[in-house]
């Protein structure tokens, strides 16, 4: 049996404001190590909401969430922050780099926060990842000085800095042109195939999803395929 990285058990979520709306209904699925999973569905089907619950940032749900076979449900803010730091890498639609820092420093921040390695080692690891993504020449530039496609790659490097169990993406190619989208997809593909990295990507790009190893399709808050 393969290692289970992520497991959702009967997750339900409702929005209460302004009227109670059932957003997610009885979501149960697992993600195994090394899988490249895409979540697709129409706008408003709840796929982003699901992602934020899976990422531990949203704690207002019923059901159980396990990451690396540890129960996440009901843990404190500080503990969850630690889990996000250590086990989850994020890539968002918007890059969210900190403009006050250089590219290298942006990549290093989660690593420094984790504190598993010394500052020199974290720097070395950050440079390694930038090199892997082909953007090591940008390391010393301020974060607001680089292009959109480059920013997204820096964000991926940042997601990788702590060797996370899983990388989660919320429409990571949504803001990019075709060329950069393909570039980012190729990076994900390579991570999955070469480095056996687990990925869970929410997207509405059909062609993107078709090239992943597993597709979860959602409709009206339920999983209808996958």
């Amino acid at each position: 049996m393969q290692d289970i990285i992520l497991e959702a058990r009967h997750i339900n979520k409702q929005f209460h404001d302004p009227v109670t709306v059932q957003v997610l209904t009885d979501i149960t699925f697992t993600v195994n190590k090394g899988e490249f999973v895409s979540v697709i569905g129409k706008s408003g089907c709840g796929k982003s909401t699901l992602l934020y619950i899976l990422s531990t940032m949203d704690t207002d749900y019923d059901g159980e969430l396990l990451i690396d076979q540890d129960l996440m449900t009901g843990r404190s803010d500080t503990e969850l922050a630690r889990v996000r730091n250590e086990k989850i890498g994020f890539v968002f639609q918007f890059h969210y780099l900190l403009n006050e820092f250089t590219v290298l420093r942006n990549v290093m921040l989660p690593g420094l926060k984790l504190g598993r390695y010394s500052e020199q080692e974290v720097e070395h690891r950050a440079l390694e990842r930038l090199k892997m993504l082909g953007i090591e020449q940008l390391a010393s530039k301020p974060a607001y000085h680089i292009s959109g496609g480059e920013k997204q790659r820096v964000a991926i490097a940042r997601a990788l800095i702590n060797d996370p169990h899983i990388i989660m993406g919320d429409e990571p190619t949504g803001n990019l042109d075709v060329k950069n989208s393909n570039l980012v997809f190729d990076i994900f593909k390579e991570l999955s195939e070469v480095h056996n990295q687990t990925l869970l990507i929410v997207t509405h790009d059909q062609s993107f999803a078709e090239n992943t190893s597993r597709i979860i399709e959602m409709e009206d808050g339920r999983i209808i395929r996958g």
């Binding site: 982003s48 934020y52 990422s55 940032m57 949203d58 803010d77 500080t78 922050a81 630690r82 889990v83 996000r84 730091n85 250590e86 994020f90 968002f92 639609q93 918007f94 969210y96 780099l97 900190l98 403009n99 006050e100 820092f101 921040l109 989660p110 420094l112 926060k113 984790l114 504190g115 940042r158 919320d170």
Partner: protein, 419 residues
């Protein structure tokens, strides 16, 4: 590691908007500087005004008051013990102004551990003769050396040498207002008539100026032996014993005690000069109120700037939280920003407050009333600097508290989804 990282992030956020930071810090600097200057100047002034009276006033004054006896003979009569006795037109009996047993009392007081020093005083009412005109005046017979040591007598002698009052026989130091009236230069001889009608020549060896003109017009000083001679009294005759204590605040208690032990009248400085205490404390109160108001205004400035910074940095806060920084870390970052503004702004403010104080201290301030004062008075009490520094940290902490709490509660999901 974690704390270093948080300090690093706070520093980057601060320096990224250094102009805003500077404005906030200047607000703190300005208010702290004004706080220090104001308090220093106000208290300098307080000390000066207090000193005008308090330094020259004995903490406890022992004397014999001439007053009717509380215990009239009729009260002692058993016949009238059950009745109310109304006696009109009561007069003082044969009582003397002199302190009885003055020598032993003086010795006992000097031996008291709470007492810094005690010196006898003899006040004599006299007439100064200016041609045919007689001018009323008072001669204070004092122990010149002790008077200088305890009550800064020498500071108020503006012309001549104060010690000549002791060293030159039959000499007098005139109040400068009195000297003007008598047209008496140093070295001149003035004629003095005592109440008993004795006429006596005294040599003027100096002028003194108390800063209070009414006093300078009537008062003069001579050595106690000269005054005793003037009045034809023996060497143990004195009307007052002036006591200076180590602790001013103990004066009322000591006065009460002496009153009982020596069966004498005793007056403490607090009772004698209550209005000065009140004036000082109200001036201090006003300067504290103004200083703290300034600080609160600066605090609101910091509050605003931090709030703005948090709105600007919403995205950064969200991503920090998404990548594993907890609410507490974010809270710490913003508190640190607020406190460093307070710390550095306050530090510069303390230095500037000191510089302002020094400048004020060097502005010439010459007034005829205050012979010993040449520049504006400033008090450099370190307590003001402690309070200033402490308050700069407290206000900035409070100013940072709510914005930081808001930042720590930013929900990353809301920010990220909102895009």
């Amino acid at each position: 590691m974690n704390s270093r990282l948080i300090v690093g992030i706070a520093k980057s956020l601060l320096l990224a908007r250094w102009r805003q930071t500077l404005v906030a810090a200047v607000g703190v600097t300005f208010s702290i500087a004004m706080f220090i200057t104001l308090l220093g100047f106000m208290n300098g002034l307080n000390d000066l005004l207090d000193g005008l009276i308090l330094n020259r006033t004995p903490h406890v004054r022992l004397y014999n008051e001439i007053k009717p006896s509380d215990n009239q003979p009729v009260n002692a009569s058993a016949q009238f013990s059950d009745s109310y006795n109304f006696i009109s037109s009561v007069k003082s009996g044969i009582s003397r102004q002199e302190i009885y047993d003055s020598g032993p009392i003086l010795q006992a007081v000097k031996a008291d551990a709470r007492v810094l020093g005690a010196t006898p005083k003899l006040t004599a009412q006299v007439f100064f003769n200016e041609g045919t005109i007689e001018i009323t005046g008072v001669i204070n017979g004092v122990d010149v050396e002790e008077e200088s040591r305890l009550f800064n007598f020498q500071d108020y002698v503006t012309a001549g040498n104060y010690i000549d009052a002791k060293n030159v026989a039959n000499s007098i130091i005139l109040g400068n207002g009195l000297a003007e009236i008598l047209v008496a230069d140093i070295g001149d001889v003035v004629q003095v008539t005592t109440i008993q009608g004795e006429r006596f020549p005294l040599k003027v060896v100096g002028y003194f100026q108390s800063g209070i003109q009414e006093i300078d017009k009537v008062q003069s000083y001579a050595s106690i032996s000269t005054t005793q001679k003037l009045l034809g009294k023996p060497a143990n005759y004195m009307t007052d014993i002036q006591v200076k204590l180590h602790e001013l605040d103990m004066a009322p208690a000591v006065a009460k005690e002496y009153e009982q032990i020596f069966n004498i009248d005793a007056e403490d400085i607090q009772t004698a000069n209550a209005q000065f205490d009140t004036g000082s404390s109200i001036r201090s109160l006003i300067s504290y109120a103004v200083g703290i108001t300034l600080l609160i205004v600066a605090g609101f400035g910091i509050f605003n700037i931090l709030n703005m910074m948090i709105y600007e940095k919403m995205d950064s806060i969200a991503i920090l939280k998404a990548t594993g920084f907890s609410g507490r870390d974010v809270n710490l970052i913003f508190l640190l920003i607020a406190l460093s503004i307070g710390f550095f702004g306050g530090l510069v403010g303390l230095v500037m407050g000191f510089v302002f104080s020094v400048i004020i201290d060097n502005i010439p301030f010459n007034t005829a009333a205050l012979p010993t004062v040449k520049t504006y008075p400033v008090n450099y009490n370190p307590v003001f600097y402690f309070i200033g520094g402490f308050f700069s940290l407290i206000t900035t902490y409070l100013a940072g508290f709510f914005p930081a709490r808001k930042a720590s509660r930013v929900d990353p999901v809301e920010i990220i989804r909102g895009k």
